[in-house]
Symmetry: C2
Subunit: 340 residues, 2 copies
DNA sequence: ACCGAGATGTAGAATGTTCTACGTAGAACG
DNA sequence: CGTTCTACGTAGAACATTCTACATCTCGGT
């Protein structure tokens, strides 16, 4: 019922172009795809007609047989200011190669993410990049058999149906612990998300493992403490407050994400704690908010743009035919700020 | 070249379902679309087969004739934390009605936005929502004739080919000026974006007009001052610093967006200015960062979710056949915080 | 003059839906 | 009992591409 002014009679299709250029439909198709077997003169003629008529191929029709030259990017969440940096990297890489991107927002909800993936398959996207998806590995595997897939921010090093690009989350945690230790801290806790076995591949458990390993490495195994807050659904300000009010409040906290580190730092301020004197904090993601001078939150930087570029490269090579899975770990770095 | 395991032979199409249920292809199509003329018994039979086979219609094939039940949402920018709230509203409304959403990110770049719109038309989206687009009205008009369109955050009250949903930006500016006046301020400046005639319909010029009108209303016409920073491309920290260092620095600043108000507030802090004693600030958008206790930035709230819902409703009714354009203004409100 | 190989171009099937037009059976009506 | 509706289904064209043969041309070599 969505009929607009022109009932469709006006639409310029590949047929219109072919007629105008005086060649076959197949010839125009070849030109569009840079396919083999088109002479320079033919190409020029066809391109002139395309230009003249303003022809644009229908992605829908393309999708029925060949490629759509469109990639799907699934973001966990649109509110985390760290994610756009990954997106930038993806885009930079794919745009140059003539691919378009469609974004889906999963809102950290597994059911929803699955729907979006199916929708992208239905839309005949050429490939998929899942960023920090909540979907369990087994399910990912099933989808990945239907469509070339690269996963970012989800550790599944043994997967063979898709590639993974990750920050070296264990190393990131180690950097944080080391920075605390070098500044004389011994009472170093970690603030982590609650998780169950289904989410073992998520980043938070990896950072936990790294934290515990680093504490042991620095001879502080006995002092390791993991404080938990409910998974990333909104309201855990109260949990954070409770943590800061504990009689044995730690002197330094490594926080699994700036998503919690920023509120934590704000609560500390509200409760009159001096940062870093009473409480030192290091977050994760180097979220732009952490960089604001008034917040001044030290954080582990994952180099989002680079992860994005790597993911895009992996996807394109997979689309080009690669079958062997690739698993990349990107080294993180620590950005020091006032909170340590 | 993207071939996955199953060469396609395995794909379950509408034909598979029809065969399984022992009915015609057209019958299955009717069931999928809830179209007229299908008996209860037939519907049940078909639905059982769909369930059993896990059939999912191909959006590509659908797009070739009918609707795709997919809407395109074009966001200026993925880094502005205010935009997700509009997105939530859009989604809430459309999801319930069985529509899917694809997001495009324009990065405040006109050429890019135009490409994305064309891409969405190519993908046969049923309709488009443009959020804070940079595209001039005349160009929008051309696109809007090809596809049902609703525009958010772009004032074009005379447009007849598309609908607009906006915050009442003039009223928002008035609220800010009024709040300052009530607190005894008279030296009230506005921080605005540079703009040219092409962007008169953007929100910043509207807020300027509202500021000037309000200053006049409160008898301060002679004291109105508009300070300009380069358009939203990144680096204007230096411009902000210069403004704060002016000998005749204003005592109160109404800022066109939290995008600039947050850095401004941070710079003031860095330069040792007391807020609000030395400088009071009100921003616009009620960006989540403004709400952080340490930032405490008063801001005009646009009720993003509501604008999103209204935009979605307008689009759906337009898809359903409405031709007459609608132009809605949503009243803003002031959220008071420490910066005033 | 003939042949074979490569390069260039074309016809037409295939893709998975929707939509138009039409057929058929049973009910309601005179 | 014939006629006319109405409700339910179906056949097949249409949609805009790509892709798989296949046909035709051009040359250089015999």
């Amino acid at each position: 019922m969505a009929g607009q002014s022109e009932p469709g009679r006006g639409r310029v299709t590949i047929r219109t172009v072919a007629a105008d250029a005086g060649v076959s439909v197949a010839a125009v198709s070849k030109v569009m795809r840079n396919a083999y077997g088109v002479s320079e003169s033919l190409r020029q003629r066809v391109e002139a007609s395309i230009e003249k008529l303003g022809y644009r191929p229908s992605v829908a029709a393309r999708g029925m047989r060949g490629q759509t030259y469109t990639l799907g990017v699934l973001l966990v969440d649109i509110e985390n200011p760290f994610l756009p940096s990954i997106y930038q990297g993806i885009e930079e890489m794919t745009e140059a190669r003539g691919y378009k991107i469609m974004v889906g927002v999963g809102k950290a909800h597994e059911r929803r993410e699955a729907q979006l993936i199916e929708q992208m398959i239905d839309n005949r996207m050429d490939g998929l990049i899942l960023v920090a998806s909540q979907i369990p590995g087994a399910v990912m595997d099933r989808y990945a058999r239907q469509i070339p897939t690269v996963v970012v921010g989800h550790h599944e090093p043994q997967a063979d149906s898709f590639d993974t690009i990750n920050s070296d989350d264990r190393q990131g945690a180690r950097l944080a612990v080391q920075a605390f230790v070098e500044r004389g801290h011994r009472d170093i806790a970690m603030l982590a998300m609650e998780w169950d076995a289904r989410h073992e591949a998520d980043v938070s458990p990896q950072r936990e493992a790294g934290y515990l390993a680093a504490m042991a490495e620095f001879g502080l195994a006995g002092r390791a403490r993991i404080l938990r807050v409910p998974s990333s659904e909104k309201p855990h300000a109260d949990d954070l407050r409770r943590i800061l009010a504990m009689p044995d409040r730690p002197r330094a906290i490594f926080c699994w994400s700036d998503l919690d580190a920023v509120p934590l730092r704000n609560l500390a301020w509200q409760m009159g704690l001096r940062v870093p004197e009473d409480l030192a904090i290091i977050g994760y993601d180097n979220n732009p908010v952490a960089a604001l001078p008034m917040i001044g939150l030290a954080s582990i930087d994952q180099d989002g743009p680079r992860m994005g570029r790597l993911a895009a490269e992996a996807l394109l090579s997979r689309i080009a035919g690669r079958r062997q899975a690739e698993h990349v770990l990107v080294p993180p770095s620590l950005v020091l700020r006032g909170s340590v």
